[in-house]
């Protein structure tokens, strides 16, 4: 094959790979069902680290036992793929149950795909100052990082007064989620666009 033809082929394949990355994400944003997720600051003093935000959600920690436990399966291990049933809510979607299989989620609920990061067997009870048995799943959904422009993230980083940061996501039919917008007290602060 001619050298320049090879170079053109290389450029096309590499560009196609990069375009596929973008297309996959845009497909999620365009076809997904919107849902609001409440964030939980990773570090209360500095939500945003460097040029990107580390986000944790109220649905990132799923309790498997106790009064606030979610329904569904109970036997999970690290790096398992999980399906979380979400009930949409303008104030923040609620996790109803967690399963190994998507088929266990009824059609009236949103199915979000995640990966088990940790499985904690106990947690620290601040009132009694003791470690108590509490099985908790730490789940990653692939929406835990959000890159912000330097100097413009300060308002989000340090919300004034009782301002609340939440994230509007789109969940596509494959269970993949993408960030559509960053909300401050329910108002859009950043909106994702194609270009």
């Amino acid at each position: 094959m001619n050298l320049w033809l090879k170079i053109v082929l290389l450029v096309l394949v590499q560009a196609a790979a990069l375009a596929a990355m973008i297309a996959d994400k845009q497909w999620t944003l365009n076809t997904g069902t919107p849902a609001v997720l409440k964030t939980v600051p990773v570090d209360p003093r500095s939500l945003f680290m460097g040029d990107y935000a580390r986000l944790a959600y109220s649905i990132s920690q799923l309790r498997l036992d106790g009064e606030t436990a979610v329904g569904g399966d109970k036997d999970f291990k690290r790096y398992d793929t999980v399906w979380v049933a979400l009930k949409p809510d303008p104030d923040g979607a609620k996790a109803i149950s967690v399963h190994h299989q998507r088929s266990a989620i009824t059609p009236d609920l949103l199915a979000l795909k995640g990966e088990v990061q940790h499985l904690n067997e106990a947690e620290w009870d601040r009132t009694s100052n003791k470690s108590v048995k509490q099985r908790t799943l730490n789940v990653r959904y692939g929406i835990e990082q959000y890159y912000v422009q330097e100097g413009t993230g300060a308002q989000v980083e340090r919300p004034q007064g009782n301002e609340k940061v939440s994230i509007l996501v789109a969940i596509d039919p494959r269970g993949k989620a993408g960030i559509l917008a960053v909300l401050l007290d329910g108002r859009e602060r950043y909106r994702e666009t194609m270009f």
Partner: protein, 437 residues
């Protein structure tokens, strides 16, 4: 001896050979011209081009990082595309217009770096937070395509290094088997088979060994120090690698010549581990279901048998030496099969392993002498010294009450080691002078 060392030696020796009348003046000049033509030239140019590619790559990525916020998404994408395409076009221009093949290789490496930067930057622009090793895998695949289409060994080495990082992440961090790596390795083997890329070929062998080590990090096999399954798996891997080494040794293809050094080293280390009397004794227990292990043993034994048969067919050894070699190979395979099927209940297997290890070292050294391969001779002697020290120390520490006896034994062993070193040097001199020892 490498080309540079050989050239120096020829230049030093030729005047004497000419004076002795062994070589004519014309012959001497022709030899010098030939040696000069075969010297590796412009090593600095090549190194500078590769270092330049690295610096330029880092510089461009840093510049992007510094001015990133001032650009729109579209501008960022256009810049990424220009950088990526620019490095490819620069490669083409270096080859076709400027006749600068070394610089072209630097550009090929630069294009691999830019592709990685492009993946990360697109991930950042669109907030793509996927399974981290997938990004490395895509980068390694891009590097492989670059190496394949642009005939670039530096790009292939970079791609193999990325594949190693990918499999490390998958198998040791996420603890899942990286089966897709096998597909990558088959594809990578194609350009390596076509080109004489020694460094990349050795990297390929090293990657295969890393992938095999990664099996031991999988949760299904149990904790490393609490499961006899690891010993069974290890024995199977040593058997399979020994077969791969034999297959590579039977072939004269440059790819096979390059990878066999890695395989031999891995097999010798594997055999050495089995020589320890206490190895696996504490966790020895029968397998709950032996059938899968037996099936795997048949598979590994088939590779081993194919390798040994190829080696025997290609061998030019005398009948007696060949029979000794076959006997060693059979005993080696039987000992490994024994480790798979029967858990150790005493240190008796270690006795056989020590004998076979020494026999294998002798055979490797003998083969090295016959092929004039200094690396094989050195490897055999190094293996023997390490074995000697290991046996001396494990015996010494377990029998402290007879310390004096073993100290005298140690002195004797060291004296023996000194004699062996003298013998090794004599053998290497014989190899260099072309005499049959």
């Amino acid at each position: 001896m490498n080309d540079r060392g050989f050239g120096k030696r020829i230049v030093q020796e030729l005047p004497r050979w000419q004076k002795e009348g062994w070589v004519s003046v014309e012959g001497s000049q022709a030899i010098l011209a030939d040696v000069s033509a075969r010297q590796p030239k412009m090593a600095w140019a090549s190194s500078l081009a590769l270092a330049g590619a690295l610096l330029l790559g880092v510089g461009v990525i840093t510049w992007f990082a510094a001015h990133w916020n001032e650009m729109s998404k579209l501008m960022k994408l256009v810049l990424i595309f220009i950088a990526l395409t620019g490095s490819h076009v620069a490669y083409g221009l270096c080859l076709t217009r400027a006749a600068l093949p070394k610089l072209a290789q630097g550009m090929a490496l630069l294009s691999v770096l830019f592709f990685g930067a492009a993946i990360m930057l697109v991930g950042q622009i669109y907030h793509i937070d996927a399974h981290f090793p997938d990004g490395i895998a895509l980068w390694a695949a891009g590097g492989l395509l670059t190496a394949w289409l642009l005939n670039s060994q530096p790009a292939m080495v970079a791609s193999l290094a990325l594949a190693a990082l990918w499999t490390w992440n998958e198998q040791f961090d996420f603890r899942v088997m990286n089966w897709p790596l096998l597909g990558y390795m088959i594809l990578a083997a194609v350009p390596l088979y076509r080109h004489d890329w020694k460094l990349a070929a050795r990297g390929w062998g090293g990657l295969l060994i890393l992938w095999m080590i990664g099996w031991h990090a999988q949760p299904w096999i149990g904790e490393v120090w609490a499961s006899h399954a690891h010993i069974r798996l290890f024995a199977l891997q040593v058997l399979g690698l020994a077969g791969c080494w034999a297959l590579a040794l039977a072939s004269e293809h440059p790819f096979a010549r390059a990878v066999r050094a890695d395989f031999l080293l891995a097999v010798l280390i594997g055999a050495f581990v089995f020589t320890f009397p206490d190895f696996a004794l504490r966790h020895a227990k029968p397998a709950s279901d032996l059938a899968p292990w037996l099936a795997a043993l048949v598979g590994a034994a088939a590779i081993y048998a194919a390798g040994i048969i190829s080696l025997v067919r290609a061998s030019e050894l005398a009948a007696v030496r060949l029979r000794i070699g076959i006997a060693l190979a059979v005993v080696f395979a039987l000992l490994l099969a024994f480790e798979v099927i029967v858990p150790r209940s005493s240190s008796m297997p270690a006795l056989f392993w020590n004998a076979i290890f020494l026999g294998a070292l002798y055979w490797v050294g003998d083969l090295g002498i016959r092929h004039g391969d200094r690396a094989m001779v050195n490897r055999a002697f190094t293996g023997f010294f390490i074995w000697l020290l290991a046996r001396y120390f494990d015996t010494f520490w377990s029998l402290m009450d007879r310390a004096l006896f073993f100290m005298v034994g140690g002195v004797l062993l060291l004296a023996g080691g000194g004699w062996l070193e003298g013998r090794r040097r004599a053998l290497l001199r014989d190899i260099e002078s072309g005499r049959q020892p």
